[in-house]
Subunit: 118 residues, 4 copies
Amino acid sequence: MIGDFVKTGDFKGEKHVPVICGPDKVKKGEWFEVEVSVGKEIPHPNTVEHHIAWIELYAMPEGAPYILRIGRYDFSPTLEEPIVKVKIKLEKNSKLIALSYCNIHGLWEGTKDVVVEE
Amino acid sequence: MIGDFVKTGDFKGEKHVPVICGPDKVKKGEWFEVEVSVGKEIPHPNTVEHHIAWIELYAMPEGAPYILRIGRYDFSPTLEEPIVKVKIKLEKNSKLIALSYCNIHGLWEGTKDVVVEE
Amino acid sequence: MIGDFVKTGDFKGEKHVPVICGPDKVKKGEWFEVEVSVGKEIPHPNTVEHHIAWIELYAMPEGAPYILRIGRYDFSPTLEEPIVKVKIKLEKNSKLIALSYCNIHGLWEGTKDVVVEE
Amino acid sequence: MIGDFVKTGDFKGEKHVPVICGPDKVKKGEWFEVEVSVGKEIPHPNTVEHHIAWIELYAMPEGAPYILRIGRYDFSPTLEEPIVKVKIKLEKNSKLIALSYCNIHGLWEGTKDVVVEE
Ligand SMILES: [Fe+3]
Ligand SMILES: [Fe+3]
Ligand SMILES: [Fe+3]
Ligand SMILES: [Fe+3]
């Protein structure tokens, strides 16, 4: 299904992979900042014909039955780069997952594990 | 990754599964209507506390390397039901995939194969 | 402010104006269908370079202090036409307002008054 | 029309007004960061029942006929605060306009003028 068509890789060699930068460890329920971007190491084109249209950020809490959608960021080509810094909080150890979409090269994902301390 | 956390099932028994209704066969490059909805057989709650927040529609063309995002439909709870009729076109045999999000029960997907004739 | 930059006109002569089609009178709290589209009379281009990116639907209930956002519909150029049929409900006489965005020609609005009966 | 229903005010006294923070002067065509937020001075509630659902960022270039939509940021209540830092560029002196939506208190706008130097 859709998971079969979401690509990933090492963002250092593959410019489509979204990158999540932020702390490895946070306090439970305290706001912290993460940066989510595409093209951190190798810039992706940003033209009307070829661009990153959006990034969506999710959290999968350890042992939870359901994934949480944190936010969605739509970019207009040539006017904005596909990078956002956002303010989030977590209640449990979680895997953050960023899903991004290139209008030519489809869906890509990147993840980051975050430890949550009481 | 994200594919591991997208659930599915038979929409007749599981109210979260998005349903795609439309023709099984279409003409290449001709516009046609599809209905995409959640809760077709068993209605899903539609309250501020528990609701379907959005549905996103994709097409995976047979043999293509990348998935296409067709559209995204955001719903405001209590004001709108999670059902849209949209007008799309395809160039090749494709698997339509709908991805939906319940603010409590996470991501769900449903698919429909469409044959595209010259 | 933003209202100064939202254009409108007669959709029969100006292809950007969103059109809301549906009943003039509905029952309070009962779901009904409306069609929201751009280019109903004169089609708007639908290319990567020039297209309608999204339509957002609002309701302003008579005498209410605040506007309600009903839904938002994002379209991918060439894959989808800017037309949706959605299922909404109203509690009071309302002005429905559709706001749409052309990636070249900016923001446009169209409205429809709906009488709500007990 | 919609402009009649978009509220504004001084963000220091009215918690709904979106605030745009960034440089007053930038170089033409060079990327710069702006922070767009709601509740900068007086925090807005962030609960499922009452929250800022999204902020949309626009630019109105001086003397241009049409407004540009830069980006759109959707937030999930309780998981994310309505604040983003984004990377944009401008070609001309512009008025940046942020439009935000509270699920209870409707649409609000805030603006910032940016001078663009050759
Ligand atoms: Fe690409
Ligand atoms: Fe649910
Ligand atoms: Fe146009
Ligand atoms: Fe509020």
